[in-house]
């Protein structure tokens, strides 16, 4: 699949991170590939968006956030029945902590900051997932 095929104007994404810099960076990364992007400052805001009826194909979830961290938010979303692709984006360097984050219900986990290669991989995974469902 070429990079041009990857650009998708139908996909939506939610960037959940307490750092304004990371939110801006990841939002731009995703917009470059044609995604419509919203941002949330912490896990609770992300969960509240879904409770209000929002839905997203992709969620980029930071781990360390105030009020509700990424692991807790991920667990909550999965309990709510959210089937979006949830991708952890963290600077955690402990394998044990990463594993715990994955077990919260992530589909993938990457080190911050995301690169274009990471985004391409995720979009390919999303396209594969959509093809399987159709």
């Amino acid at each position: 699949m070429s990079d041009e095929d990857i650009v998708n104007n139908n996909l939506t994404a939610l960037v959940v991170d307490d750092s304004p810099m990371i939110r801006k960076l990841h939002e731009m990364h995703l917009k470059k590939f044609g995604l419509k992007v919203q941002v949330a400052e912490n896990g609770k805001n992300a969960v509240d968006l879904f409770r209000c009826g929002a839905s997203f194909n992709l969620i980029l979830m930071d781990k360390e956030m105030p009020i509700m961290d990424g692991a807790e938010a991920t667990k909550e979303l999965r309990i709510m029945g959210v089937t979006s692709m949830i991708v952890g984006v963290t600077s955690l360097d402990s394998i044990f902590e990463r594993q715990a984050f994955m077990e919260a219900g992530l589909d993938h986990c990457f080190t911050k900051p995301l690169t274009s290669e990471n985004i391409i991989f995720l979009l390919q995974e999303l396209n594969n997932k959509n093809n399987e469902e159709n």
Partner: protein, 177 residues
């Protein structure tokens, strides 16, 4: 080679930031995200970085240097019908909280990596090694060096963006030689 002398100066300035190790490839990732619709994207992200990281540096500074708690000792002296009350304030030194320091520096390192702040990232790594070995003096030395690198990077990037605003951005983001 750009014939415009200011744009040439900008290109040279940019190249030297990579050659001298201040920036790494992550900065190029930022540049590649910038476009006509977002012509100041890199500067905006870097500005947010310096805002976020200033707070973290202050937290680390407090955790390293402001670690005294006041304790009041009251000494009562009785001497030949006179009562002397000697109030002594002792400042007790709290032990270093290496876990807290490491946590702050972990966040700082993550932010610095996001803009490609290579030297700052390296000093952060060294600081964290000292935290893990509970080496307070090492932490203090590494923190002083980190602050120097951080201040230098800030100065260089501010000068770079000031010049960039005069000329407009370079046309292509190129990998360092």
């Amino acid at each position: 080679m750009d014939r415009n002398p200011i744009r040439r100066q900008l290109a040279i300035m940019r190249q030297s930031l990579f050659d001298q190790g201040y920036l790494d490839e992550q900065f190029i990732e930022l540049e590649q995200l910038q476009d006509d619709a977002n012509p100041n994207f890199v500067e905006e992200v870097v500005t947010l970085y310096f805002r976020d990281s200033a707070r973290l540096i202050l937290n680390i500074h407090h955790a390293l240097y402001v670690h005294f708690s006041p304790t009041l000792f009251l000494f009562l002296f009785i001497h030949t019908h006179k009562v002397m009350i000697l109030l002594l304030f002792f400042r007790e030194r709290k032990p270093f909280d290496f876990k807290k320091l490491d946590g702050f520096m972990h966040q700082f390192k993550g932010s610095s990596s996001s803009i490609g702040a290579n030297k700052v990232k390296a000093e952060s790594t060294l600081f964290r090694e000292y935290c893990r070995s509970a080496n307070a003096e090492g932490c203090m030395r590494a923190f002083q060096q980190l602050k120097k690198e951080y201040a230098t990077l800030r100065k260089k990037l501010e000068a770079y963006f000031q010049l960039a605003r005069q000329t407009g951005p370079l046309e292509t983001a190129t990998r360092p030689k």
